[in-house]
């Protein structure tokens, strides 16, 4: 799990490389640095062209969705419909679909605003729960002193792979029959998401927290600070980059989830998140298909904003410790 190259490994490969090259007859490039520079320029131009092509292919689907979402219904379905790219020939657009899908009532309404609020109401507490609980556990795994610490930590890491599918059936009956959690409230979703988010959260934060220099903690201990003080006053402030990364991760994961929502929300408009509503309306083929693009765009706008706005922290936290040896 090393992103940083193992130095000797990389060095070895370059050594073999140079040995191989010594036995190689001189090519024109060796004697003509200008030629080589021209060639590098050319290759990099090809590389840039390839990159632009890939970027275009990757962007067109989402762009098509955005354009579709503002085209009038008649252009999207029925006999007068045509592809979204024709938008650029006749600039006929409307924001009616956005109004329709988010409105609280009306025949066309998907009532998305209510589900949108549900998504927020699910995702915010879960993110807080996971951050706090995972950082507490990660701190103990990194700086606590108890027997079987290593083994327990590896076990927690391994929990990441239990497919959620394996947990759903028993957990649902536990929630409803044993704990008697009220149906149609957020409680089931909060608890389930928190449970599922913990292994990865602990793993990511542990890698970061264990790299905090021991002297900092020792110094605090000498000054008479207990574990709780060290945790709140030193560990958490120093771990902000990792916490930010985990928060984004958790936010995206819960916001985009469908499976957990399907099982634990009971499907009511009171608690079901926006992904579930989206899956419902896109599943019903029919005369409201033209609303799907707008609905989809409403659902992806928040994660996309979070994601693109904070991607720097996201990547930094992922790479911090998580991948470095």
């Amino acid at each position: 799990m090393t992103v940083m190259p193992a130095p000797d490994e990389a060095a070895n490969s370059s050594r073999t490389q140079s040995r191989k090259d010594k036995g190689r007859p001189a090519t024109p490039e060796d004697s003509a640095p200008i030629m080589r520079r021209v060639k590098t320029k050319l290759t990099s131009r090809w590389a840039t062209a390839a990159a632009v092509i890939i970027a275009t292919i990757w962007t067109v689907p989402t762009f098509g969705l955005l354009v579709s979402s503002i085209r009038p219904a008649a252009k999207q379905v029925g006999p007068r419909s045509d592809g979204w790219w024709n938008f650029f020939a006749d600039w006929d657009f409307t924001f009616k679909h956005y109004v329709d899908v988010t409105a609280a009532a009306g025949s066309q309404s998907a009532n998305l605003s209510q589900y949108f609020v549900n998504s927020l109401a699910i995702v915010i507490p879960v993110t807080v729960f996971v951050l706090v609980l995972a950082s507490m556990a990660a701190y103990i795994f990194a700086w606590g002193n108890f027997r079987g610490r290593e083994a327990t930590f590896i076990f927690v890491f391994a929990l990441q792979i239990i497919p959620l599918q394996m947990a759903l059936i028993p957990l649902l009956s536990l929630f409803t029959q044993v704990l008697k959690l009220p149906p149609g409230s957020y409680a089931q979703l909060w608890i389930a998401h928190t449970m599922f988010g913990l292994p990865l959260g602990i793993f990511l934060l542990h890698n970061f927290i264990s790299e905090i220099p021991g002297e900092v903690i020792e110094a605090a201990k000498v000054d008479g600070a207990g574990h709780t003080t060290i945790f709140w006053r030193i560990i958490l402030p120093l771990s902000v980059p990792a916490l930010a990364s985990l928060a984004i991760f958790q936010f995206l994961w819960v916001w985009n989830d469908l499976l957990v929502a399907l099982v634990f929300s009971g499907g009511t408009a009171d608690v079901a998140p926006i992904t579930q509503r989206l899956a419902e309306i896109s599943g019903t083929r029919g005369n409201r298909d033209f609303l799907n693009p707008a609905a989809a765009f409403v659902s992806i706008i928040v994660p996309l904003a979070v994601f693109l706005g904070l991607q720097r922290f996201f990547v930094r936290g992922l790479l911090a410790g998580g991948l470095k040896g």
């Binding site: 370059s14 098509g64 579709s68 609280a104 556990a137 792979i161 957020y186 913990l198 709140w232």
Partner: protein, 321 residues
């Protein structure tokens, strides 16, 4: 908007209760007599997460393992569910599709991600180019399903096409195609959606790894006359081997669990189902929790070797430390 009040109240209460619990733990740990303080800290800090993981993951996993050997009415039925899985044509198609998914998605995402990371390395506008390919990572699979249904949209021949791929096909003189209906290639068209999502993830991790390869090594190989391909193969790839393993395993695990794409785009019809989707269908729609559990168990066994491998690497690292 009256619904808002009640919802905010619920969220507020949940956060308040949580804060009170955490505060209580901290208070107890802090006020404990010196003799038990360290032990109590460990228990107090670890217990909430440990209990949640035991109840939410370990206990259900064990339960499901037992459930896999029972029939629809909860009676033990030996290995019947597994016999069903490996003999019924539909179940076999599900297994076959899962294998195709787990081979193709990690492979293609990593290859595209790596190629793109190399192409844009030090290019002008690198960050903007990165953001474009990274964007799908933030889109829900349901959203991605809707996006790609538009892309694959089909109209009969002779009618104006609204899906971009079919429009291109018609423009090239081909017949429009019903991408999601015809097995077995429809599975490939679903896989493309997952590749579209995961490539950005691979690209970001690999791009960071490439920047970690010492410049001197690349420079040295260039002075030795290696062409760009040779530089890439003999210097860059060995230098990022660790990152490649991480990317491949992460995407493989994500792919094995993929569910939303299939569900949104075909609902598993037309021979496109995968284990993760079939498990949901059997357990929660068809009233066959035993079969669902058996599928989940197989899924777990498929992921197990990957995790054992990663856990071993992790342990080695910690021993070095």
């Amino acid at each position: 908007m009256e619904f808002l009040g009640g919802k905010f109240l619920q969220v507020f209460i949940a956060l308040a209760v949580f804060a009170a619990l955490i505060g209580l733990i901290m208070l107890i740990v802090d006020r404990a007599p010196k003799s038990v303080k360290d032990k109590l800290t460990i228990v107090g800090f670890l217990a909430p997460a440990a209990i949640l993981m035991l109840v939410g993951l370990v206990y259900p996993a064990v339960q499901t393992s037992f459930l896999a050997f029972t029939n629809a009415s909860g009676q033990p039925n030996g290995v019947d569910n597994f016999v069903w899985m490996f003999t019924q044509p539909e179940a076999l198609a599900t297994l076959r599709n899962t294998v195709i998914w787990t081979v193709l998605v990690p492979l293609l995402s990593t290859v595209f991600g790596l190629a793109y990371a190399v192409f844009i390395d030090k290019a002008r506008g690198e960050n903007a180019l990165k953001a474009l390919v990274f964007m799908p990572v933030g889109i829900s699979m349901v959203g991605a399903g809707i996006i790609w249904k538009l892309v694959y949209d089909y109209r009969g021949p002779g009618i104006e096409q609204t899906g971009v791929v079919n429009a291109v096909r018609v423009a090239l003189g081909m017949d429009p195609k019903q991408f999601l209906l015809d097995a077995p290639e429809n599975t490939i068209f679903l896989i493309i959606v997952m590749v579209w999502i995961q490539t950005g993830f691979a690209m970001v991790i690999l791009s960071a790894a490439i920047k970690g390869v010492p410049v001197e090594l690349v420079e040295a190989s260039r002075l030795d006359g290696a062409n760009p391909w040779q530089q890439f193969r003999n210097v860059t790839v060995p230098g990022i081997r660790g990152a490649l393993v991480v990317v491949l395993t992460t995407i493989t695990i994500a792919t094995l669990k993929v569910f939303d794409i299939v569900r949104t785009m075909t609902a598993g019809n037309y021979d496109t189902s995968v284990i993760a989707n079939e498990m949901y269908t059997q357990a929660f729609r068809a009233g066959e929790p035993g079969r669902g559990a058996a599928l989940a168990l197989v899924l777990f066994l498929l992921v197990l070797p990957i995790v054992v491998y990663n856990a071993r690497v992790l342990r080695q690292q910690r021993e070095i430390r």
